[in-house]
């Protein structure tokens, strides 16, 4: 009785443990299909298990384990260095038995929120196991002869007051003058979207935030939102930034008026970095979606850790018809070019007559 009861309870315990562990242990252990191989590969990436991840790729010319890790884990404080893969959805595009193409919709959890990426992987079957063909990252081009210069010299004169006393009438320097130079409101995807451009007309840098209040037909406020990250907050003199404010779940028909309230603040700002935006052009991607592509070139001496691209699209009358943005997961090193792409709304792609790309940035180095 003593022993048999112990055996029964031990068996029950082991059985329960097996029941609890088996589903986890079984999932994605074998890369016997192209999609499973992609899933396993990203499981290794998620676990930062670079050895196993590299073992699952067919390295192309010039791909070493170090370059592979740099490619997938990021360098120089880029967004990729503070991202982790969250979700992988795969779809086999074609499979010949020896070669296959798999499209992976990747969801990254990053420091600026969820970032979605679609990547097509080519896989090769080697001895029953599928491996991902991994080519060297797109060569980051050197911008020839560009001379990075870091500016220490700036001439901004801010005069606070003419008196040291506390007397009435003495005021500190005013915030910079900014002006909203264009504005448009549209219905899009179940939201009201307010967009436009703001310029710093002053001679000193400003920190700008734009808040908008939708006023309903009855004169009451319907919703309040802000430009959040869809603006370049720090504006140097004469700098123009697009802005976009989304009001989810609202319709333009409900709105009687929009109250825009920009907030300006006089701030110190660096004149660096200067980022050039080259080869801007709109094209269709593999799925037929309109994309604005180009190259970013850092023409200064500072590394830009996280670049943020803001694109403004204009119609033939010069009106802003859309503002879209995107974060780059690579850092911009001095004199180097990095490709970027931002979405263009398909329904307005034909109306786009002109566009302008500005680059906002975050640098991790603190002054």
């Amino acid at each position: 009785m003593k022993t048999s009861a112990a055996i029964i309870f031990t068996i029950v315990l082991i059985g329960l443990i097996a029941l609890g562990t088996a589903p986890h242990a079984e999932s994605h252990t074998k890369s016997d299909t192209p999609e499973a191989a992609v899933h396993i590969f990203f499981d290794h990436v998620r676990a930062h298990d670079w050895n196993d991840a590299f073992a699952m790729v067919n390295p192309g010319d010039g791909v070493t384990k170090e370059s592979f890790v740099r490619d997938i884990a990021g360098t120089d404080g880029s967004l990729k260095t503070i991202s982790s893969i969250q979700k992988v959805d795969t779809k086999t595009l074609n499979n010949s038995g020896s070669e296959a193409n798999v499209r992976a919709n990747l969801q990254w959890s990053t420091a600026v929120g969820a970032v979605h990426e679609t990547r097509d992987f080519k896989l090769t079957n080697s001895g029953g196991d599928w491996k991902l063909d991994w080519s060297a990252p797109q060569q980051v081009q050197q911008a020839a002869d560009a001379k990075p210069v870091q500016t220490n010299y700036l001439r901004w004169d801010v005069v606070s007051s003419g008196s040291n006393s506390n007397e009435w009438g003495v005021a500190n320097a005013e915030p910079p003058r900014t002006r909203i130079i264009s504005m448009n409101a549209v219905d899009y995807n179940g939201s009201v979207v307010i967009m436009g451009e703001v310029v710093n007309e002053d001679t000193v840098p400003g920190f700008v935030t734009i808040n908008a209040d939708l006023i309903g037909q009855d004169g009451n406020s319907l919703a309040q939102e802000s430009s959040f990250d869809k603006i370049s907050h720090t504006l140097l003199p004469k700098e123009v930034s697009p802005f976009r404010i989304d009001f989810p779940g609202r319709k333009l028909a409900e709105v009687k008026s929009v109250k825009i309230s920009p907030t300006n603040l006089l701030v110190p700002a660096s004149a660096d970095p200067t980022v050039g935006v080259f080869d801007q052009h709109i094209e269709k991607d593999a799925t037929g979606k309109a994309i604005l592509r180009g190259q970013l070139t850092n023409q200064s001496g500072l590394v830009v850790n996280i670049p943020h691209v803001l694109a403004t699209f204009y119609d033939k009358s010069g009106k802003v018809i859309w503002v879209s943005d995107g974060y780059l997961d690579q850092a911009l090193k001095p004199n180097q070019q990095v490709p970027f792409a931002v979405d263009v709304r398909d329904d307005i792609a034909n109306q786009v007559q002109n566009y302008r790309v500005t680059v906002n940035y975050y640098n991790s180095s603190r002054s």
Partner: protein, 567 residues
Amino acid sequence: MVALLAIAVHGPLLLMQLPAFAAGSQTQMFLAKHYASDWFGLWNPHWFGGFSQTTSAPLTQQVVALLSHLFGITAAYMVTQLAVVVLLSLAVYRFARVWTGARTAPIAAIGSIFLGSLALLVYREGALPATAGTALAICGASFLYGFARGNEVLSLIKAVLLLIAAACCDSMTAVYGILLFALPTLWLASADADNEEFGERRSPAATFIRGVIVLAACAVVSGFILAPFWSSVFHSSHRLLSPDETASNFLLQGSNAVRYWIVPFGFMILALPYLFLSGFAARRTRALFLAFFVALVVGLGTTTPVAKYLLGGFDNALSVELFTFWATLLALPLVAVLVLELVTRYQQRAVILVWVAAVLTFAAPLAWMTYHPSTENRFRTDYIANFLNRDNHAQFRYLTLGFGSQFSEVASRTNASTVDGIGDGPMLPEAREFGVSHLDNAKSYGSAGMEALRAVLKHANQYGLKFIFVRDRYYEPLIAFAGWRQVEAYENGNVTLWSKEDVPPARDLNTHTTLPGIERVLWGVVPLLCLILALLLMIATPERDEEVEIMALPTTGTEPIRTQEAI
């Protein structure tokens, strides 16, 4: 003597305020501080932009609040925790005496002092409510035996008061702990009912039913007292668990096996074969073993599917840890029998080895905590509190990011309100959409956490959220792109303050709910009253040892049986 030993072992550690910075203890002290300032005003404006204290069972917070008027809040917490540890050892003494006899009771009681699982809960988690609830539940269960088997009215009163007090300490204990300790005890009472060795012969079924009725009555009464709490539990929305809170599979994650199973059990793992062999074999301890087995299995977390089905929405790491704690407590009477046999057989050698094992079992969690601290690089929060408390800064709300267990510490020190919080408070609609309850730790929830943080920051103006204190630079890009500017730095730049200029002062979020007066009085008075009455009754009417018969467990010892009172 057991009580003195408990004080000798835990007293110095608590005097050093070892658990002062555990996340749980900080939360308890934060909640207790509110009771200390406004006992019946249950609306606390400092977390979640305002929340009701009824989202957490009140008793331990009320005791700490009461004692804080004498000792200050931190010392009051430590004194309460020490009292709980002492009470636990006495409860285990009573419990073991019921199950395995008076000879084993002191051994089990001493064992309870050195439990690794207890050390982890007290010193790492700061789980005062769970340990207090458990101690009261065990005590209540042993008195329930006295009533069910012996029909003693005084035992009935003590059992009822203790079980209600236990339920008012901790929700997990209220739902699972009381059943885990009380049901086997009732089974034992009914098993002993037709045995004249344990008193007058009674009907086993009637004995069991009588006990169940008492349990049900306790459940109804405590449910009535804690009605606002249960209401908030049932109306709370789905919450994601961060990886730290998730009960993981121990086979797949070895580090968690060490943390949640090996360290809490310590050398008791060596006794598992004995427990399996003799626990179910002896008729009287069969129910105890079954309860132990259930607690053991649930304590394995997602290593087995049981925890998920049994715990439902409660299947977090702390719940699993609590079940392991209960498993070790339920095993103690049986382990005490083993120790007694070993000592009888091997004399002094066994005594030395058992003591060494006990001490090492207790030391292991403390050593483990040293090498795996819950908060690395602790920092001073007084700069932050000073900033928030001056120049009308408290008229705005604030947010901390990456503060970990020191989140509550900031909240305790400042008059300002945060939109974040710990526990079952009302999440902001933006965070509720993603099921993220604790924004300070947003990144650990993955993209859901960061999206929730983005959504809340987007509406910063509506919440008066002007100040963000950042201790984890991971969050800096988001808040910089979102329009906050760094304005101050503390602790050599490890903690930075970010501010947004256009944020208006915070206004009431109109989530304030006022409980009816009767509910507030019940909440504020009855739990503490039950505890005080139960303790007074226990002190005023100590049971004589000879009233409890020695259990019929075979021991091979030849030494005379010596019983003693624990107090």
